[in-house]
């Protein structure tokens, strides 16, 4: 133990088995998925990739669980200084920034297609010859009739933003407020308040996912709106799908935080895990506002 008390201690673990298992886990996951997708596209019924993916997923899940448990345990042993806390705060913030840029790529694709491509394929803007490929094509958004309906069948109609998407908007916006109430619960040292509001937030998250699943079902079975329906279906499902995946991850984070709250892990000055999960939750909320505006309202 360093004895000089004028310095804060910065904890550096001597070595760790966790990262190599995580490396093996992530490798098996993508290697298995790759085989699975190639076999699927080649029309094979069974793929050895499924088993590799399963092994990878289990390794990854087990390793991440151990990793987070280890960090929580070290925190409880009071190995972490305030400086270490700041490292985690910075790291989470930059991670969320990377997520913003990931969504930026898909939003950018949507804007580019809407602003330029749809018109250009139709020969708008002195690009006359480009409309000779598909004479029957009309440039409009949402692009329900694709240039080549034989390859990409198109959709019957877009989703009405003012029904299910509006419900989902209200659900997510409310959940951002309730997660803040839960945070107040920690700051006031009121565990029941924390648990109550956090449980409600999780309920909103799960409700959101159910509505989303129902909407997808509706789109596939009744509207003919699918991944295969051309660029409108493509951008719609990729943007809302990745968002839904992030809501799922966020909900899992909050469920872990609920478990930790019940064990009494959080105190007013030691609750970074909760705060990180709530930042992530606010982030998926903001992405949703972008989706609601650009994909649903302006997109239909």
């Amino acid at each position: 133990m360093a004895s000089d008390q004028t310095y804060e201690h910065y904890y550096v673990p001597h070595n760790s088995r966790l990262p190599i298992f995580a490396s093996i886990g992530i490798f098996l996951t993508v290697f298995g998925t790759g085989h699975m997708l190639n076999d699927m596209t080649a029309g094979k019924e069974h793929s050895v990739g499924t088993w590799i993916l399963l092994a990878g997923g289990l390794t990854m899940g087990f390793t991440l669980f151990s990793w987070f448990s280890k960090v929580i345990e070290e925190n409880h042993k009071k190995l972490y200084s305030h400086q270490m806390d700041r490292s985690y705060v910075w790291a989470m913030s930059w991670f969320i920034f990377s997520e913003v840029m990931f969504f930026g790529a898909f939003f950018g694709a949507l804007f580019y297609v809407r602003m330029f491509v749809v018109d250009w394929i139709g020969g708008v803007g002195h690009r006359g010859p480009s409309d000779m490929l598909w004479p029957g094509y009309t440039p409009e958004w949402p692009l329900l009739d694709t240039p080549d309906p034989k390859q990409f069948p198109g959709a019957k109609e877009a989703i009405d933003p003012w029904h299910l998407p509006l419900v989902n908007t209200i659900l997510l916006l409310t959940s951002s407020v309730t997660v803040t109430f839960a945070h107040h619960g920690i700051k006031e040292g009121n565990r029941n308040k924390l648990i109550g509001w956090l449980a409600l937030t999780i309920a909103f998250g799960i409700a959101f996912l159910f509505v989303q699943a129902y909407e997808y079902h509706h789109a596939y079975t009744e509207l003919g709106l699918t991944l295969h329906a051309g660029i409108f279906g493509t951008t719609f499902f990729m943007l809302t799908g990745f968002h839904g995946a992030h809501v799922t991850i966020g909900t899992l984070m909050l469920i872990v935080m609920l478990g930790r709250a019940m064990k009494g892990h959080f105190s007013p000055d030691n609750c970074f895990g909760f705060e990180a999960a709530s930042w992530y939750w606010h982030f998926v909320d903001v992405v949703w506002l972008g989706l609601f505006l650009f994909v649903y309202v302006l997109g239909s």
Binding site: P13, V30, G34, F102, G104, Y112
Partner: protein, 533 residues
């Protein structure tokens, strides 16, 4: 803000590394991980280099003689991918791991376990990428820029593994960059203000920011490919309302900042070496910082200069032309500052300085050919010719790669405690210098004369220059075995290095003993006079 390292062991206090292979697998130490990155990078450099020599062998004379055109395409693709993602980027991450904590007076990287994870993803990712060479249908064959629809509709099945390899090496880069940023922002010793940081630390801070900003865009790009290939989406298919040009926009929005990711840390290295051997402080420290930040900002708004001939509106071409030319201003500031640092200095020409001076001259040549390519009407002539190949090899090989070699010679005595053999180092430099110029300078001429890139055969009038280029490539390639020999020899022994190593060196890393102890600063340093700025 201060820090000391703390050991938590129930048994003996470990102060040094473990024994055996598990030391390297389980390590959380920034120096061990830096070493792993650097060796990995060197192995990839040789692997990608062998592929380059396959290419140059085929191009030694006109006609098809050594490889099938299909395999030639796989070689150009894999050579580019391995050199960019496997050699240059990990080399700089290795340097960052070794140097950033020592330069800012930190005990280690901020997130040591994640540091290990960032590294150990890479061998798996590149093993998977290289395994595509043995798959049915062959390895990716669409060029390292993997334009759709070559990489979607017409790609071999191995493209799926290429996509996932890019995904996980992107995850590795993002985690590595988060670690660098957090270390720099949070673990500086007391008194090490931002404007006192060595330029290598500054350039890495900005590089890491660029990486976190654009690696997710690359992930989005390959995800779109994956969906188009396997799930029937139409991002890059006009029949469904998408656009192959969309691919190029998304790719180059990543790709252009990526170019600066591979050169900004090189600027940092050169800004450390030139003052040492000119025995003067760096000229214009603050302007160097601002120039680096300006280059980083501009990198986000110039991407379509890679796409002038693809059919974008004339207003777009004009905008991207002028924006691109703006980059010459901060880059010019840097070159001016390096030259002004040398002006009236007491110069000596040890191996790191030779590489650094060669960097300044040859990188500037690459910069000038970049300016030529930025001019829209001229680019219509140069596009996809060997002139482009000459341009980016001049900024990447005597640019980035020379800076890594300069850094290795400069800091190797600090890392190993031994001096390298100066005569051998200089021999390595001159062989590399001659080899590089023989290889890439003739490419300017054949490119301007119209020789297209990525084609295994060529017209007879290009034969002489191609023969020279191939000879140069073999000279440069085999010279690197000498580099390997010098480094191993230095690790095993040699004249003992002093702590300062170079009489003109400044910076906290030179206040540590040589070799640097396993844990850098067990108590934060206080002598900030050593700092730059």
């Amino acid at each position: 803000m201060s820090a000391v390292i703390e050991e938590h062991h129930h048994d003996d206090h470990h102060h040094g590394p473990d024994k055996g292979i598990m030391r390297w697998v389980l390590t959380t130490n920034h120096k061990d991980i830096g070493t792993l990155y650097l060796w990995f990078s060197f192995i990839m450099f040789l692997t990608g280099g062998v592929m380059a020599l396959v290419i140059r062998s085929e191009l030694f004379q006109p006609g098809l003689q050594i490889v099938e055109p299909e395999f030639f395409n796989q070689m150009t693709t894999m050579h580019g991918l391995i050199m960019v993602f496997g050699a240059v980027m990990p080399a700089f991450v290795g340097l960052a791991n070794w140097l950033v904590p020592m330069m800012i007076g930190a005990p280690d990287m901020a997130l040591p376990r994640m540091n290990n994870y960032s590294f150990w993803i890479l061998p798996f990712a590149f093993a998977m990428l290289l395994s595509t060479l043995f798959m049915e249908g062959g390895a990716p064959n669409f060029g390292w820029t993997f334009y759709a629809p070559l990489s979607t509709t017409y790609a071999p099945p191995s493209v799926t593994f290429f996509i996932f390899a890019v995904h996980i090496m992107g995850a590795s880069s993002i985690m590595g960059s988060i670690n660098v940023i957090v270390t720099i922002l949070n673990l500086r010793a007391p008194g090490m203000t931002l404007m006192k940081m060595p330029l290598f630390v500054w350039t890495w801070l900005i590089t890491a920011y660029l990486l976190i900003a654009v690696m997710p865009v690359l992930a989005g790009c390959v995800t779109m490919m994956l969906m188009d290939i396997h799930f029937g989406t139409s991002f890059f298919n006009a029949a469904g309302g998408g656009d192959p040009v969309l691919f190029q926009h998304v790719f180059w929005f990543f790709g252009h900042p990526e170019v600066y990711i591979m050169i900004l840390p090189a600027f940092g290295v050169v800004s450390a070496i030139i003052p040492t051997f000119a025995r003067k402080r760096l000229f214009g420290y603050a302007s160097m910082v601002y120039a680096t930040a300006s280059i980083a900002f501009l990198s986000f708004i110039v991407w379509a200069h890679h796409m002038f001939t693809v059919g974008i509106p004339i207003s777009g071409e004009l905008y991207f032309m002028y924006a691109t030319m703006l980059i010459a201003v901060p880059t010019g500031v840097k070159v001016f500052n390096w030259v002004a640092t040398m002006w009236q200095g007491s110069m000596t020409f040890e191996t790191p300085m030779l590489f650094a001076i060669a960097f300044v001259i040859l990188f500037t040549i690459g910069g000038f050919s970049g300016l030529m390519l930025a001019i829209v009407p001229a680019d219509f002539q140069y596009h996809d010719t060997y002139f482009v190949v000459a341009h980016f090899h001049y900024v990447l090989v005597p640019g980035s790669v020379f800076s890594v070699m300069a850094a290795v010679y400069y800091w190797l005595p600090k890392w190993t405690g031994n001096m390298y053999n100066e005569a051998l180092g200089k021999t390595h430099f001159w062989l590399s210098f001659i080899g590089v110029n023989l290889t890439f300078f003739p490419m300017h001429f054949v490119g301007l004369a119209g020789m297209p890139r990525r084609i295994p055969d060529y017209n007879l009038q290009f034969a002489d220059y191609n023969m020279i280029a191939s000879c140069g490539a073999f000279l440069f390639g085999f010279s690197q075995l000498l580099f390997l020999f010098i480094v191993i020899k230095t690790i095993r022994g040699g004249k003992k290095a002093t702590d300062r190593v170079w009489e003109g060196a400044h910076g906290l890393e030179w206040t540590l003993p040589s070799p640097a102890p396993y844990h850098s600063f067990t108590t934060p340093p206080t002598n900030m006079e050593e700092a730059h700025g």
